[in-house]
Symmetry: C2
Subunit: 325 residues, 2 copies
């Protein structure tokens, strides 16, 4: 058992030991917020009684939910462990009596110190391994659901997680020609939209805000596939690029409907389909929860190639790391 | 008492008569979804016990929350009363035992027929009056909170709503020069971002997806002010236009922080500030809940002028009303 799995088990044990768990809050900023959305989604789909909420950290603090208290588990994430709003949110939640569980890459960081339990993950955005944050989040969430409500999917999730590393390697290898073609053909696009729904909303959102806007200075928005027909679809045209994520489970129908329309009117679609991941064989009816980590890693491979084609490394920033804000 | 106020009172009575109300769900598509977000926000800020959730209709159906049941109040909205996903959501929720309350402009529409209670509102996007949806939503939400939890803000909200019509007239009149200048200077912009947080997230979202993307075919995204520093701010540059909504209450700090940064690096900001609405005098600590209806109407005045400057009427569509999808 790796150290990080031990961290997760300790956090699950802490949640199991609470007198009651009525609420789970997923609280972080930017890419970490997007990551936690996959945990929020799983709780919303699976929990019988526990209510789940997802917030950007500053919004969580401003909203100051009155339900927050001893019955709450608050899951936070900051890669550096230094995001001030997220550290403040951990302190606020802990003072309110909630169990606070932090994901961070940095031991002894302010977030590590502020939270009651810490899951200290490793990081490689082009891979999925059992010491990464996204798989550990699934283990945590299904562990808590098992302990608090007798949810039975944890075993399937654990078994499937063991196969994710090889799965993503094979998927990225298969996409190599598509990655190269998309990066070259997209390098002069001023706007690229992403689209997704259900479990994959966070993956679509993080690619829009963290990769395209932040790391490439390309205009973008994540469009929810279910909202597409109620406004956003009117921007669709032959030369407007979309990245469309087709998920699994109930939400897939939404993605398919949006795709069927978009492919009639745009010639610039990149379609990534979770059906090709082969997850149903690994995880059965828990498969949909495992798609976001694979989409996020696969999309990163597209991002690396795009950055190369554009001569704009993913590490370049004009504001972040250069000034106080 | 107008007919629509009677509708609201009947809906509040139905909610008061339920054995329990543990959950409120706000379910709609596009602009109606954005509208309902202001109700969701008020419940999240004010409710002691009731859990609140906000979904696009198709996502609600796909997510199929297990908490949905006899303890749920599901508030839906469709202007035409014909949005298939929203009608399906009303039927689904009603079958699950929830109290369904529909906002619609069309009597006897499928949504009116599907829901247990209907609030039949009037519509004028450039005004705010007591038979419009947004004020009636506040009356409904604070009425339910009063009936179920003894929340004391309903009186203040009702008093303040009576003054909204004159308030928005005066605000729009004051903005006339700014509206004309912004519309002319923005008419060739290929991308315009909106930004907001807290109660006004829905207003920022609807301007991005319903006005700019849908009615003007201008690329856009709503950026959450709390998320701005965690990705999106890197697209800021001297020539990148943002519309920034400064709200009231706790969330205002987030908006101010984002604005302070954006105004250093962009020369293309339109800042709309709820502080100038004079709402605190009318509504005291309920003021923040009344800002979205004013922002949405004020933004509509900007949209009308932009459409005129661009020679692209707000009623023009390339897909909607022209084909099945």
């Amino acid at each position: 058992m790796t150290e990080v799995v031990k961290n997760v088990e300790a956090a699950v044990k802490a949640a199991a030991a609470r007198e009651a768990v009525t609420d789970m809050f997923f609280v972080a900023c930017g890419g970490s917020n997007a990551l936690l959305m996959s945990g929020h989604y799983a709780v919303e789909r699976e929990a019988e009684k526990i209510a789940s909420f997802s917030y950007s950290s500053a919004e969580f603090l401003a909203r100051a939910p009155k339900r927050l208290g001893k019955g709450s588990v608050v899951i936070l994430c900051s890669h550096s462990g230094n995001t001030p709003e997220t550290v403040a949110a951990a302190k606020y939640a802990r003072e309110a009596g909630a169990l606070t569980i932090a994901f961070t890459n940095l031991e002894n960081s302010p977030l590590d110190q502020a939270a009651e339990a810490t899951i200290l993950y490793q990081y490689n955005p082009l891979a999925v391994s059992e010491d990464h944050a996204a798989p550990m989040l699934m283990r945590l969430v299904f562990g808590i659901l098992a302990a608090r409500e007798g949810n039975g999917k944890l075993g399937k999730v654990e078994t499937a997680l063991a196969g994710m590393g090889k799965t993503i390697e094979a998927v990225i290898a298969r996409h190599k020609p598509s990655i190269a073609a998309w990066a070259e053909s997209s390098k002069r696009e001023p706007v690229i939209y992403t689209m997704g729904s259900g479990a994959n909303w966070g993956s679509a959102y993080s690619f829009a805000i963290c990769i395209l806007q932040e790391m490439q200075w390309v205009h973008s928005a994540a469009i929810h596939a279910g909202e597409y027909f109620h406004g956003p679809f009117e921007v669709t045209d032959f030369d407007v690029p979309f990245i469309i994520l087709k998920g699994l489970g109930n939400a897939r129908k939404m993605d398919e409907r949006a795709l069927a329309f978009a492919e009639k009117y745009s010639k610039r679609l990149l379609v990534l389909d979770a059906a090709e991941f082969g997850l149903e064989a690994l995880a059965g009816d828990a498969a949909e929860y495992l798609t976001p980590m694979l989409f996020t890693a696969l999309l990163r491979a597209y991002a690396v190639a795009l950055a190369d084609s554009r001569g704009h490394p993913l590490t370049v920033r004009r504001y972040m790391w250069r000034m106080e804000y």
